[in-house]
Symmetry: C2
Subunit: 704 residues, 2 copies
């Protein structure tokens, strides 16, 4: 399996730290070297607090990793260019080494760290120091740092989103608890330092709680030690994990952690033959996606940038349901269910959102947080003076999210047949979202239903009418409402839900009637207009540029340039319902006009290209999509992992290249692999693991 | 002379740190122990930056004081209750001692610090450590900390208002420069550690730049060292002060500093006989007021809370001109001039402010900052959620500041006869502010000129018409305009200014005409109504309460409760123009209704009571006013020194109790001292120092 090496000779540490983030879906730690100060603390999934501008955001909790080395009081810091990182995706560990230096001399430092995939509350790190030419009193500090802040906008503004509640620095294992600023969450910590040549002493300064020991060194001396930090949301969990961490050696913790990962990878069983760089990229992406899932959690809020950084403030967008769901559905279906469990819990708030904005049913927020309310910022100050601001309309206008959630529920049911979920929640989401769209559409003088004033996936165009993507997804949502209502007639449990939700035959028929007349402006068998009036805009094509740079200096909203797959996204998701010539014609037309300024774009085009059998083109798109983070394609890697690009590249592989699809209760494939490429992996379908082996258009699916 | 002892057994360190702030008017350092972390960094007078909500604020610059002691790597922190502070007001030094402890043992720590009153760029500190029972490797770190932040509102929001530009941690004297976030100011630092038993080593971690040395200690061991930090606004200044600090011993620095202070106190020559607690309080206040003045500066921006804390963000209010000016005018007239130099520099901006709000002439901002623009916040968020906000109207409505500035200019001229200042600037301020009021008044159907929609000093009542204070001060401003125009007719230099400013005889006569008809609603020889309609409000009197608590649970704007001296302030400032019965009657009426929720209230009442000869009552008010900070009367001492209360208590003494007044070009007194109280001090008048000795109603003024 794969190991990924990074060095600060080839890229900045703040970017490497995203690539080398270790997470177990509960606790997440960026790969910043433990030997130097960093603004990045710890993230715990689901721990948000109120914050200015962004409503609520993931809290930058106390930093647990540091191992600070001082020689005769002088900090020994990593020498620039000597920082080497090795991410072991098979075992889920990060190895780090560097030269630590000061005017007093140099030491060689190396460490291994993990966030335990089985014992979620455990972060463990072992280090080894060897003096090159350093001589004197060497003190090693192992703090938990309490001065981490969330960076707001502009970045000079920081917010302290937790307060220290209790600290105990007595005895050999200091502990503390913090509360989020809004008192909604309490996070507990315990620190264990061991394996050291001298007895560690605890301390607390107000800025940090830690443990320290000192030894005399001379050239050639070696010092080894271990830092284990327990992080938990309750006293019981804290003690449980403290017990495990205390009774197991570091080697034991590594072995149970690596064993857990081996089990995961064994179930995935993935190989891609014929393109090892692509295989590397896909494994890298799968590793981070699997890391993000907390096997022990009740729901899976999947932030746009993972738990790898603070981009988008830990908010959950449509890519959780649309881009990430397929990966988990096929490789870890419980994770897919838990993505939807988050939407389930938020159904009440979605009902309130619909009603408070003048609609019926349920409306999901464009940016979701723990309390399920709309968290999209409206006005973001860009400087301290307050003279420059960004005004953001997506929260108000990017409404397709509601249809995306319903689509995901249906897809989940198709692949899993999970009756319990549907009866408890899935059906209600589908009915309530259909109801939203039925109230959202407006009947025009032309006899069509219109959806006016929205933003589609292509955010270059704001406040448009009859967005193709929005309209076809809304239409499909209405169809799903009617379909599931019809299905409910033959299932007593479902019927009860329909009754409880007050869905009548008339209402369901109404949904179908509206669906039949939602305006979807495609020429017969031909081009679809991205939104009303798009074809009247200045026609520009993308040439020799990528992303934001294509739109530079342009009033982009007045052109036909497209930020990301929009018509093509709708067509891919609903590919079964469109004629192949429509897919093909629109793919060609829009690809030429798409800047891919969003990381959601390439995977969708890759998927569509593969689906259309344009395999070489698809492969080029997939390579680029899959390496979004490894290549730092968007230049903002430091803000976190691009979850949608990673999961989207898997979606392209699974649904596009392999053509996996449930048909008549069975999983079928229709591989469209380029010459020389072969894929093997295990996928789940309806509770059973299946081995898929494909090469060219040949394939075999075997139930395991 | 006086020494002031404080201990953390009797009050929190954050409050002691205000009382023990050391400043030289350029560089200011709160009294936080150097041995423990603190959020408070350093203030440099005049160094502001843009900031959210508050427009611009004083920058919380890098913290220069820390001396951190670690025993075998474990921080040795001050033991709670062992922190003792001794502020020596005579020498301008702070002595500090504490027990530093950890689980490894205890050390006795003591230090002496100063911000050099002569060599403005020098902060110096000498410490002595004695081990009680501590044994091991003792490392002493001397960092300049680069992680200080400004606290915004709500306090969880912090702002980093400077960025590190250059750091040099090579050699024995590290240096660095930072720039304010808006690039408006550059501040340079150099660190010198000396007198230590081992050679210090420099280091830089990103969070701090420092110097450290280690020694082995055992019980009884003594370690001594010195930390000197140079702070400057230019490379030249940095090198100049570095040169002085390097060539002088610590003892030499103490001696030149103390010598400077001795000179200051010698010129003040103050004694108060018969009430040593009051004498202590007045000396304490004078010490801090004299500290705040930078003898080498070109102008004197005097923030409401001094350079002692971050309350009101370092903004400059009317108390600078109205409450503080008399103290400086009599004790340090150059400081008074420089207070007005700030207003001079801001005259252009004040013209723009008047014109942009629809008026003529010059309008001074309610809250002033370095760039002279209105810095009063409008909307202050009170929680992270954004659900609670304070809306602040004073910036828009509290307009009397403009008349207060003119009053201060006139008073300055009366006491100093400074022709150069008047010709260069003072006259212009008086003309332009008179012009403002002439355009601000509205002629009513009743034949009177009205000033509608303002806030007077009593901020309980917002948007009132014909505020007594505002109207009498505006009227006086108009009269001053006419008076100085008349004077200009016989002085060629002044005449030129009048011509340059475009003031004609007609305009000046117009001012007088308006002044004669400004509505000032007093019953003949009797009560004055604080504003139009005040007497129709619910009549409540203050009983058994003080400050904010009096207004608790009340819709205070609908009552006759008054926040601070308002009518009485206007009457005291213009006491020469009102009948004694009017002063007396209004004093009695309003005192019963005043909550003193502003620290500006008691000094004005004390001054008026003394002026009226109600000496025992006046003495009680003065004692309370003078001890505002020593007693933490307002419970917010941590936010800084209450400059107006300190200077106001001196104003009450000088103008009220001593009745000092220029009359016919001479300084006269009319002492009204209680039985048994005697006062001696030296005051400046028209460039000459005069010895004033007073006891009871007897007095002597001798030119020195």
């Amino acid at each position: 399996m794969k190991k990924y090496a990074f060095s600060d000779r080839e890229r900045p540490i703040r970017k490497i730290a995203t690539l080398t983030t270790l997470s177990n879906g509960f606790l997440s730690v960026r790969g910043d070297p433990e030997t130097a100060p960093s603004e990045y603390g710890t993230l715990v999934a689901g721990v948000y607090s109120y914050t200015p501008i962004f409503y609520r955001e993931l809290v930058n909790l106390p930093r647990i990793t540091p191992v600070y080395v001082e020689l005769d009081g002088v900090p020994m810091l990593p020498v620039q260019g000597s920082n080497e990182f090795l991410l072991d995706a098979e075992g889920g560990t990060l190895s780090y080494k560097a030269i630590l230096g000061s005017s007093l001399g140099e030491l060689e430092y190396e460490s291994l760290r993990l966030t335990h995939k089985k014992f979620k509350g455990i972060f463990a790190l072992r280090y080894r120091l060897a003096s090159r030419n350093a001589e004197g009193r060497l003190c090693i500090k192992h703090p938990i740092e309490l001065d981490t802040l969330n960076v707001s906008s502009p970045p000079e503004v920081k917010v302290k989103l937790y307060k220290v509640e209790e600290v105990s620095a007595e005895g050999s294992s200091p502990s503390l608890s913090v509360r989020t600023a809004d008192n909604a969450y309490r996070v507990l910590y315990a620190l264990i330092v061991r394996g050291s040549p001298a007895e560690p002493k605890s301390y607390y300064t107000g800025k940090e709680v830690g443990s320290c020991y000192c030894v005399d060194v001379k050239p050639g001396s070696v010092v080894e030690g271990e830092k284990v930090v327990i992080v938990a949301l309750s006293k019981e969990e804290l003690e449980k994990f403290r017990g495990i961490a205390t009774s197991e050696s570091f080697g034991g913790l590594v072995s149970s952690h690596v064993g857990f990962w081996r089990g995961l990878w064994g179930r995935v069983g993935f190989r891609l033959y014929g393109d090892s760089a692509l295989e590397d990229a896909l494994v890298f992406n799968a590793f981070h996606l699997l890391q993000l899932y907390n096997e022990g959690g009740g729901e899976f809020m999947l932030p746009a940038r993972g738990l790898h950084g603070y981009g988008y403030r830990g908010h959950v967008f449509w890519d959780s349901d649309t881009y990430s769901l397929p990966f988990y559905l096929l490789l870890e279906p419980e994770a897919a269910r838990k993505i939807l469990e988050y939407r389930c819990r938020c159904l009440g708030a979605a009902r309130e959102y619909a009603s408070s904005t003048g609609f019926r049913g349920a409306r999901y927020p464009w940016e979701g947080v723990d309390d399920c309310r709309e968290a999209t910022p409206v006005e973001v100050p860009l400087d301290l003076e307050g003279s420059r601001k960004a005004f953001i309309e997506t929260g108000r206008l990017e409404q397709h999210i509601t249809a995306d959630v319903a689509y995901a529920v249906d897809m989940y049911y198709e692949y899993t047949g999970d009756e319990e979920f549907m009866e408890r929640c899935g059906l209600r989401i589908i009915f309530e979202t259909a109801r939203f769209w039925a109230s959202r559409v407006e009947l025009g003088g032309d006899g069509y239903y219109h959806i006016r004033g929205v933003i589609g996936p292509d955010e270059y165009h704001v406040g448009v009418d009859d967005s193709f993507y929005t309209n076809v997804m809304a239409r499909y949502n209405l169809v799903l409402g009617a379909k599931y209502y019809a299905l409910s007639q033959s299932k007593p449990g479902w019927l009860r839900v329909a009754v409880e939700e007050g869905v009548s035959r008339e209402e369901a028929e109404g949904w179908l009637e509206v669906a039949g007349r939602v305006r979807v402006p495609c020429e017969p068998g031909g081009l679809c207009e991205e939104f009303e009036g798009y074809f009247k805009l200045k026609d520009l094509e993308v040439s020799n540029c990528f992303g934001d740079s294509c739109a530079k200096g342009l009033d982009v909203g007045s052109t036909r340039l497209v930020k990301q797959a929009d018509v093509v996204a709708g067509l891919f998701l609903l590919r079964r319902f469109f004629d192949r010539r429509v897919l093909e014609g629109n793919y060609e037309y829009y690809l030429r006009r798409t800047t891919h300024a969003s990381s959601l774009s390439l995977p969708m085009y890759a998927a569509m290209a593969a689906y259309l059998g344009r395999v070489e083109e698809a492969l080029a798109l997939l390579r680029k999509a899959a390496s979004t983070d490894l290549e730092d394609t968007y230049g903002n890697l430091e803000d976190g992992f691009h979850v949608a690009a990673a999961a989207g590249s898997w979606m392209a592989l699974l649904l596009g290249f392999l053509g996996l699809e449930p048909r008549g209760g069975k999983l079928v494939a229709e591989p469209r692999l380029p010459e020389g490429l072969g894929v093997e992996l295990n996928v789940w379908f309806r509770g059973k693991l299946h081995r898929v082996e494909a090469r060219g258009s040949e394939y075999r699916i075997t139930e395991l």
